[in-house]
């Protein structure tokens, strides 16, 4: 039966060669990625799952070895391979540590694409995954409705009832915990600015930028999107919200659904065709957008479009830093620390810029976090799919978060939820903020507004 499948796939145009060892579906993994690895082991200590398990198959080197072994025909794409390949957080810390720049994350994503086709999800996992990844995230209007439902739940008193009656206890622990740290839902900027396609810069317009509103971001963290718009306009940028944009596809690509990933990528590439800058405030999304070309390795036409698109994408912190943002004048008087989101630090090499933004604010005292670029365990929806490992990674992260700060700042919504969970579990009284929210706060104060985070 497998051979029929291979033959069918071999006919599909997206497929450059029919198979590679035991990889037999289109969009084959790139063997030059594992050829860079000489098995030195310098990545081991950088890996959060190796730290927890001490197990080689849960290390970057071990995973590369296994993925290469499938390519050499020594291993098959079996259900037993799911654990090593899907337990990876895709945090990219190993890529930073690697002397030979092996792209472990990219390889993991390609192999997940193969493995998911060989071993499809079944049962309730398939249902839930299909519902969210295909049924909801790619559809802004459905997400919007989900947001409205969530808002109703929070505002109608149902949340209070659910919490008081212990109704939440029927949920698995990790989901109940997540419920507890859900931010209160506001109005998505896509809806708010539906009839206002361009938000004018304050003062002279220096350039026009588009923002990626994101899928979950705009529902859960519309206040961060609002802050992003205010900070961008404060710095002379006209902001446009292009209507046809959609989810970046990172969650799909992480889950091995590269086909949906490509579909979403194409929609975004076309949606942002006429703008020069695509500004992103979610590290995971920004990294995905920059890596769209990886999805079209076998499609020269779209590969070129993806390259052109990727060149326009920038994280909001780096964009502000590189375009000469206005240092705020108002004092904030706050002690805080900064956490490097993996897909910002390891994925995009952005470390100094967000720190420079924060340190430009008068009265901010920055306390260094040891191992600031260690994963918090959020990793997209990893904390839902691998709750035990995510919890262990978070626990290890919390050991390094300074106690004596009021705020913990970062540049990725997934990390914000996870760190909020960490703070709650440790009974700490620290608020989680996005880097642009700090700038926004300072700018607003500068304008005489009385704002709190």
């Amino acid at each position: 039966m497998m051979s029929t499948m291979a033959n069918e796939r071999a006919d599909s145009p997206a497929c450059a060669t029919a198979s590679l060892g035991n990889y037999r579906f289109g969009d084959l993994p790139d063997p030059s990625k594992w050829a860079d690895c000489v098995h030195c082991g310098m990545c081991l200590e950088s890996c959060p799952t190796y730290e927890q398990t001490g197990e080689e198959q849960h290390s970057p080197r071990g995973r590369v070895h296994l993925m290469k072994s499938v390519g050499e025909g020594k291993l098959d794409l079996t259900p037993d391979l799911l654990d090593p390949i899907f337990t990876c957080l895709d945090c990219r810390a190993c890529t930073t540590a690697c002397p030979a720049d092996v792209d472990v994350g990219g390889l993991i994503e390609q192999v997940r694409g193969q493995l998911r086709q060989a071993v499809p999800l079944a049962g309730w996992k398939a249902l839930v995954s299909g519902l969210f990844l295909k049924g909801i995230f790619p559809h802004p209007s459905r997400l919007d409705w989900l947001g409205r439902l969530l808002k109703l739940y929070q505002k109608s008193g149902l949340q209070t009832v659910a919490r008081k009656t212990g109704l939440l206890r029927v949920m698995p622990d990790h989901l109940a915990e997540m419920e507890a740290i859900l931010p209160s839902v506001g109005t998505p900027v896509r809806r708010k600015y539906k009839h206002q396609p361009l938000i004018k810069a304050k003062g002279e317009t220096k350039r026009t930028v588009a923002i990626l509103t994101g899928c979950v971001m705009d529902v859960m963290f519309s206040d961060i999107n609002e802050a992003t718009i205010r900070v961008l306009t404060h710095n002379g940028n006209d902001v446009v919200i292009v209507p046809n944009q959609t989810c970046c596809g990172a969650l799909h690509v992480h889950a091995g659904d590269r086909e949906t990933g490509r579909k979403l990528a194409k929609q975004n590439i076309e949606a942002f065709q006429d703008v020069d800058h695509v500004i992103v405030n979610a590290a995971g999304c920004g990294c995905m957008l920059k890596e769209y070309p990886e999805l079209f390795r076998n499609d020269p036409e779209w590969h070129e479009k993806a390259e052109q698109f990727a060149a326009k994408v920038e994280d909001v912190s780096k964009f502000l830093h590189d375009t000469g943002f206005k240092p705020p004048k108002a004092e904030l008087n706050v002690r805080l620390t900064y956490h490097d989101a993996c897909h910002l630090a390891h994925g995009q090499g952005i470390r100094q810029e967000p720190r420079a933004l924060i340190e430009s604010i008068p009265g901010v005292e920055m306390v260094a976090m040891p191992n600031a670029d260690r994963c918090c365990g959020s990793a997209g929806i990893y904390n839902l799919t691998h709750p035990d490992m995510a919890q262990a990674v978070l626990e290890s992260k919390m050991q390094h978060v300074p106690q004596d700060v009021e705020l913990i700042s970062m540049g990725n919504p997934g990390c914000m939820l996870q760190m909020a969970l960490g703070v709650m579990k440790h009974g700490r009284n620290q608020k989680i903020v996005h880097t642009v929210q700090l700038l926004d706060w300072a700018y607003q104060k500068e304008e005489g507004k009385d704002v709190r985070i």
């Binding site: 050829a35 000489v38 098995h39 197990e55 198959q57 070895h65 654990d83």
Partner: protein
């Protein structure tokens, strides 16, 4: 983590799982494949199982079980060894010590610390640095290799030129013998204990005499001052002569490292480039440390010697950050080979420093003869060469050619009165080359010692010494080398 209920009929795996728990054993092919080699990737074999004990008692119980049931077994740390010491050639039960990774005790008054074998080398220095101390042996893999593995291999490193290798820093060991008995040796701080030096025997025994479960190490006070020099040369000969002259001038640098052109190409193409010129023939990385008085003088002497040997450019690190960048570039050198070659094989020959130029010339000849590039990154100060044979295992015959070229490099080292290993161990990789430096009688004398500790030879068999079967055919080879 993810629950892993045992699903196998193998009674040994079921028994081992009862000792360590089902979350601490691997036996499925998809997991075991990650354990089929260590940092030496040429030979591979699947283990029977991998177990993760968390205490000396568990290690002893596992070993006892293996001993009673005649199951071959071996110990593994981070698996960064370069000679194949942790490769389960005989389908061993691999006892992974990565979960025994605690720093048990720090005693700065007596300048020592006690660690479990899975504790990572660099973490020890990081744990005591703020109090002004460090752990001296610094293999380049120190970011991830374990001290247990360092003891097994008697690991060296860049700074061992001045401070000595692992064995000079081990004060005591707790060892599980191959029959499961637990013994303690050293550890009470007596500098010259009566009786045989068992610490010296165990350190560097490559996991063939016992499994180390607790290690007492010496800590050193941070040097008061430290200066680092980088020197670029147009001729390898000039760099070699500089090394020789620095040592004969009576300077004992903390480190004296050399990289040749191919090595520089790799590190500059990799993740931690420094901006070395690509057209130089060799560079030297020289570090001196100690009390502040006299450091500048030593640096001046070194600069003078470099200039005498036509150095193209020589500079002293201006900041700790610059120094750290030079060292990161050097220490990730082996892994950096991945940027210019799919596979590499690193050799570990030792030669008298005075023979450096001629042996390097010979290695260049070997490279031409086999049609394979050879990069050299090495501890020039103590004559410990690391020729890195670059090859592509996916090309038929290339692995064999690389092995032959590597072996010939070692023969060249042995021929000038050197040795086949300085710090990486013999393992699988160099066991046949042991004949370049030992006669059959000498090898038999050593395996007789092994038999005292490991009479059933279940622990890490087939490593360190050549198999007797090939004695006859290679006897002649060894006598001609002698």
């Amino acid at each position: 983590m993810r629950k892993r209920p045992i699903a196998t009929n193998d009674p040994h795996i079921q028994a081992l799982a009862r000792i360590v728990g089902e979350q601490a054993i691997l036996y499925r092919k998809e997991d075991l494949m990650a354990y089929d080699c260590d940092g030496f990737t040429v030979h591979r074999h699947l283990p029977r199982a991998v177990v993760f004990p968390n205490s000396t008692e568990q290690v002893a119980t596992i070993v006892k079980y293996c001993h009673e049931h005649d199951l071959p077994f071996l110990a593994r740390g981070a698996g960064t060894g370069l000679s194949g010491g942790a490769i389960p050639l005989n389908g061993e039960v691999v006892i992974s010590l990565t979960r025994m990774k605690r720093l048990l005790h720090v005693d700065l008054e007596n300048r020592r610390a006690v660690v479990e074998p899975g504790f990572v080398n660099l973490k020890l220095t990081n744990s005591v640095a703020h109090r002004g101390y460090y752990y001296a042996p610094d293999p380049s893999s120190q970011y991830c290799c374990t001290i247990g593995g360092n003891v097994a291999e008697n690991a060296g490193g860049a700074h061992c030129l001045k401070y000595g290798v692992t064995t000079n820093h081990i004060l005591g060991l707790e060892v599980v013998l191959p029959n499961g008995e637990v013994i303690e040796i050293g550890g009470n701080g007596v500098p010259d204990p009566p009786g045989y030096d068992l610490l010296g025997l165990l350190t560097g025994s490559e996991g063939t005499l016992g499994i180390v479960t607790k290690i007492t190490v010496r800590l050193l006070k941070n040097p008061e001052a430290k200066q680092t020099v980088l020197a670029y040369f147009d001729e390898v000969e000039d760099a070699s002569q500089t090394v020789s002259d620095i040592i004969s001038a009576g300077i004992v640098p903390a480190a004296l490292e050399m990289m040749d052109q191919t090595a520089i190409e790799a590190v500059e193409a990799a993740a931690f480039p420094v901006g070395h010129p690509k057209d130089i023939a060799a560079l030297l990385l020289i570090e001196v440390d100690g009390i502040s008085a006299g450091i500048d003088e030593q640096i001046n002497d070194i600069l003078t010697i470099c200039r005498r040997h036509h150095v193209r450019e020589v500079k002293v690190a201006q900041s700790e950050e610059e120094r750290a960048r030079w060292w990161a570039n050097r220490k990730t050198g082996f892994g950096a080979m991945g940027a210019i070659s799919p596979d590499y094989l690193v050799q570990d020959g030792v030669i008298p420093r005075s023979r450096l130029p001629e042996v390097l010339r010979e290695i260049a000849d070997i490279s031409r003869k086999y049609g394979l590039r050879i990069a050299n990154i090495f501890h020039a100060g103590d004559g410990n060469l690391h020729p890195l044979v670059l090859f592509d295992a996916s090309k038929p015959g290339e692995t064999e050619r690389a092995l032959a070229a590597g072996s010939e490099c070692l023969k060249a080292c042995a021929a000038v009165g050197g040795s086949i290993t300085g710090e990486h161990g013999v393992g699988i990789e160099k066991k046949e080359e042991m004949r370049f430096i030992f006669t059959d009688e000498e090898i038999l004398a050593q395996t007789a010692i092994r038999d005292v500790f490991n009479p059933k030879n279940l622990l890490n068999a087939g490593k360190l010494f050549p198999t007797p079967g090939r004695c006859v055919e290679t006897k002649q080879a060894s006598s001609t080398v002698k």
